[in-house]
C-alpha cells in the first residue's frame, strides 16, 4: 500500500472541508487527507448560481479557506482524484487512476451529481448544469453569445440561475413540470410569490411544462420542445432538476442505502469506521419526525461533518441541528428555518405585496418551519419556535405586528 492516513475524507465540498478543518481545530494529531475529484481546493457552492454566476465575485473570493491553509494544518489535499472503490475490510479506497489509499477512518462527503436530461437531444452542446466550478465556468464562457436561455426546473438552483441570467441581460424562460415552482421545498404562497417576482423581471415562467426534447443545430442546442409540440428557441439550456447522491462505491462495498447512504445519528454508515455526511447521507432528521431524509444544504453538510468529527475524536454527540437555508434572487433574501415538508398548515404572516413577509408552517398544531422573505427578524426570532416545535394560536402567528420573540417568551414552557 503506497499511502495511508488516519482519516481519509472523500469529497472536497462544504462537508469534506469542514470535517478536515474541524479535526485540526479539535487538536486531532493523526494524519488527514481529503480526496476530491475537482482540481480546486474547497470552495463555496452556493455562489455558483448567484454571485459567481453573476460575475460579482471571482473564484478566489469563494474559497472556503486560503490555498495555503490545508498544508499549514497538515491536511493532504489530493485533488483531481475520483474514488471508485472502497474495500471496508482492508480499510482502503482506490482511485480511478489506480492509486490505493489506506484509511483508519473514512468520511464520505461526496455530495451528488446533477441529474441530467434523458430526452432526445440531452447531449447537445449548450446544455448546462450548475453544481461545480467547471459547470459554472462552462456556462459563463458561452453566455456572451446567447440572448435567450431556457432553465429546466423551478427549484432553487433553477430560479437563482434565472435571476443571474436576467441580471446579465438575457431573455429567460423557466420550465417547471409541476404546477408550481419550489413545489418540493416550500408552500404554495411562496411558490406563487416567486413566480410573480420572476415574471415581473421579464422571465417567461411556464408551469406544468413538460419537456419532450431538445432541438439542435450543428450539434448545439437551438430550442426546447414541449410535450404539447411548442418549441422555445434558445441558445442555452440550464438543467436544475436535482442531484443523484454520489454513493455508488459505498453501496457496492455493502453499505446500506438506496437514496444516498444510510447513516445513524452519529453519521455512521453500516460499514465499520465509515461515516457519511452532507447531501449524500440519508439520516433520520429530528426536524422531520425522525424520517430518513437527505438534506441538501450547507448547514447540513457542516453540522453533520462536526458530528462525524466528534465521534472520531471520542466525544460523540447525536445530530440535532436545526435546519436552515438561504436563497438570494434579485433583491429578495429568502431564509428558511426548519423543514416544511409534511406540513398541514401554511400561514401567511405579513403582506407579500410589500415584499417582506413570512410563511409559518405547522404540523399538528406545532411550528415546524418558517420561510422568511426580506424578514430577517422573523428568521432569527422564529428559530426558537421551530427548535422547540411550539404550539401557538394561529391568530397570533399571522399578526406580524407582534414580534415572534414575544411569542417565544409567552409560550415557552
Amino acid at each position: 500500500m503506497d499511502q495511508h492516513y488516519d482519516v481519509v475524507i472523500v469529497g472536497g465540498g462544504h462537508g469534506g472541508a469542514q470535517a478536515a478543518a474541524s479535526l485540526r481545530q479539535n487538536n486531532f494529531t493523526g494524519t488527514v487527507a481529503v480526496i476530491s475529484e475537482e482540481p480546486d481546493p474547497p470552495y463555496e457552492r452556493p455562489p455558483l448560481s448567484k454571485e459567481y454566476l453573476a460575475r460579482e465575485k471571482p473564484f478566489e473570493r469563494i474559497l472556503i479557506k486560503p490555498v495555503t491553509y490545508w498544508a499549514d494544518r497538515g491536511i493532504e489535499m489530493i485533488l483531481g482524484a475520483r474514488v471508485t472503490t472502497v474495500d471496508p475490510t482492508a480499510h482502503r479506497v482506490t482511485t480511478a487512476a489506480g492509486a490505493a489509499i489506506g484509511y483508519g477512518t473514512l468520511i464520505w462527503a461526496t455530495g451528488g451529481r446533477p441529474r441530467r436530461l434523458s430526452c432526445p437531444g440531452y447531449d447537445l452542446a449548450g446544455i448546462h448544469t450548475v453544481r461545480n466550478r467547471a459547470d459554472a465556468d462552462g456556462l459563463m464562457a458561452e453566455l456572451d453569445g446567447v440572448t435567450c436561455a431556457v432553465v429546466i426546473g423551478g427549484g432553487y438552483i433553477g430560479l437563482e440561475a434565472a435571476a443571474a441570467l436576467v441580471k446579465a441581460g438575457k431573455q429567460v424562460t423557466v420550465l417547471e413540470a409541476l404546477p408550481r415552482v419550489l413545489a418540493r421545498v416550500a408552500g404554495e404562497p411562496l411558490s406563487r410569490f416567486y413566480e410573480a417576482e420572476h415574471r415581473a423581471h421579464g422571465v417567461d415562467m411556464r408551469l406544468g411544462a413538460v419537456v419532450a426534447g431538445i432541438k439542435g443545430r450543428d450539434g448545439r442546442v437551438c430550442g426546447v420542445e414541449l410535450a404539447d409540440g411548442q418549441v422555445i428557441d434558445c441558445g442555452m439550456v440550464i438543467v436544475g432538476i436535482g442531484i443523484i447522491p454520489a454513493v455508488e462505491p459505498l453501496l457496492a462495498a455493502g453499505a446500506v442505502g438506496s437514496n444516498g447512504v444510510d447513516v445513524d445519528e452519529y453519521s455512521r454508515t453500516s460499514l465499520p469506521d465509515i461515516y457519511a455526511v452532507g447531501d449524500c447521507a440519508a439520516h433520520g432528521n429530528p426536524f422531520a419526525d425522525g424520517a430518513p431524509i437527505r438534506l441538501e444544504s450547507v448547514q447540513n453538510a457542516n453540522d453533520q461533518a462536526l458530528v462525524a468529527v466528534r465521534s472520531i475524536i471520542g466525544a460523540p454527540a447525536p445530530y440535532h441541528a436545526v435546519p436552515w437555508f438561504w436563497s438570494n434572487q434579485y433583491d429578495l433574501k429568502l431564509q428558511t428555518v426548519g423543514l416544511s415538508a409534511g406540513h398541514d398548515t401554511a400561514l401567511l404572516r405579513g403582506d407579500p405585496a410589500k415584499r417582506a413577509f413570512s410563511i409559518v408552517y405547522l404540523k399538528r398544531g406545532r411550528v415546524v418551519a418558517i420561510d422568511c422573505v426580506n424578514k430577517v427578524a422573523d428568521y432569527v426570532q422564529g428559530r426558537a419556535l421551530v427548535a422547540a416545535g411550539m404550539a401557538i394560536p394561529e391568530e397570533l402567528l399571522v399578526d406580524d405586528t407582534r414580534p415572534l420573540k414575544l411569542l417565544v417568551a409567552e409560550f415557552a414552557d
Binding site: A21, R61, Y69, V298, W326, K333, V380
Partner: protein, 104 residues
C-alpha cells in the same frame, strides 16, 4: 495596511490586509478558522460575529437592519457586536482591532 485580531483563545495577531475586501474575507484569508462564515458573506447567518470597540469612532457605518436582526440571534451580543461580512475594510480602518466573538 494592518488589522489586529484577537481570536477565541485570546491570542492577538496583527495581519496585513488589502482594502476593499470585507473584514470577514480578511479573517478567512488569514486562516482564522474559529470564524465559520457559513453563508459566505451575504448576511444570511451570524457565524462571522466579531467585536469592534467604538464602531462609530473608527468610521464604520452603523449596524444595518438585517445585521441587527441577525446579531440578535447571538447570546454573546454586546454594544461592540458586528457581523464582519458587513464591514468593508477601508484605508480609514488602518490599525483596527477586532475580537472574534464566542461561538453560539
Amino acid at each position: 495596511m494592518t488589522l489586529t485580531v484577537i481570536d477565541r483563545n485570546g491570542t492577538e495577531r496583527t495581519v496585513t490586509a488589502e482594502p476593499g475586501m470585507s473584514v470577514m474575507e480578511i479573517l478567512r484569508e488569514q486562516g482564522f478558522d474559529d470564524l465559520q462564515a457559513l453563508c459566505g458573506g451575504c448576511c444570511s447567518c451570524a457565524t462571522c460575529h466579531v467585536y469592534v470597540d467604538g464602531s462609530a469612532a473608527v468610521g464604520l457605518p452603523p449596524v444595518g437592519p438585517d445585521e441587527n436582526d441577525l446579531l440578535d440571534s447571538s447570546a454573546y451580543r454586546t454594544d461592540a457586536s458586528r457581523l464582519s461580512c458587513q464591514l468593508r475594510y477601508t484605508p480609514a480602518l488602518e490599525g483596527l482591532t477586532i475580537t472574534i466573538a464566542p461561538e453560539d
